[in-house]
Symmetry: C2
Subunit: 212 residues, 2 copies
Amino acid sequence: MLKLYYAPHTCALATHIALEEAGAKYETVRMSFKAEDQKKPDYLKINPKARVPSLVTDRGIITETPAILAYIAQTFPAAKLAPVGDPYAFARVQAFNSYLCSTVHVAHAHRMRGVRWADEPEAHLAMQRKVPHSVGECFALIEREMFEGPWVMGKDYTVCDGYLYTLAQWLDGDGVDINRTPKIAEHFRCVGERPAVRKAVEEETRELQSAA
Amino acid sequence: MLKLYYAPHTCALATHIALEEAGAKYETVRMSFKAEDQKKPDYLKINPKARVPSLVTDRGIITETPAILAYIAQTFPAAKLAPVGDPYAFARVQAFNSYLCSTVHVAHAHRMRGVRWADEPEAHLAMQRKVPHSVGECFALIEREMFEGPWVMGKDYTVCDGYLYTLAQWLDGDGVDINRTPKIAEHFRCVGERPAVRKAVEEETRELQSAA
């Protein structure tokens, strides 16, 4: 059975949502970033990058959200979570996910993970100050140039939608008003109402409350 | 025919190499980052992110290196540039490329693109100071945990190899001695000797010289 290692409030939610949307049989392992579970030896054997998500399959372990989302879409084709039979349409899905991973998530990460890229506290503060601008610009670009509507890729829901929803959850903390991008704001509401998304979010929240 | 927009010394070389390895028919358009070609209105119509690479296909435009590399592998299956028929093996290729894109390239980008994440010159200097460490840690992790040998994924050359080669070209400028990772150093030499790689590199260099 598939096993997902995740931590609450991280991009691992995108994988959690995709597994639910796919109707996959899976179990979850909740990690605590506060307790630095991701840096413990047992977890480093699973993912030496000390990050989440990690998806354990019967063949081995997959990391990196765009790779995992494509894998879920390919191995649960009946769920139609990506146009896996059309290389061009699939590439558009992948390009969107890669942008979220390498640009949007990275812009956001400068709020709390500045130590990755500089040692001085003053530099971390400088990074934090720019997050509302850099993340805001990313979402403005998505709204203006990438978002087809009603779903990211147009008429069909794909793995891109759960991933965008996951990152949009962070906007408030990043100092970005989601209503400046009204199409993404409406998308956020629609995705949040999907049963699969509610189930994934509630499971992560419930475990968090019981652990508190 | 496929058309690749690239700029010298950028990650677009990974796509250029993949097109050569695939035996694709394509043309190239050289952009100058010095002249800020990527920010000009005509190019923003092609790629509103103002980045390279962009690959123009007969269906539309694809951006983001991991997405483009997967597309080339899928549309030129005879070149066997990725295990496109095996979702798990393909996911491993994609996870590697995603790590290069979202972590390694991002670490490197803090040397010259700090303005993306902070406004203060002191913060940019702080970022630059950490690049040898952060990029060096990424390559140490690749050497130790990801690199199968003789190619990245093991016995078969894949799109991962040209991508790793492309980013390894930057190590010297990033203040990282490639010989600290001997497997990657040897890989860099082997990839550099491949006819497709030499052709792509020479074309980018030649056009650069003729433009000088």
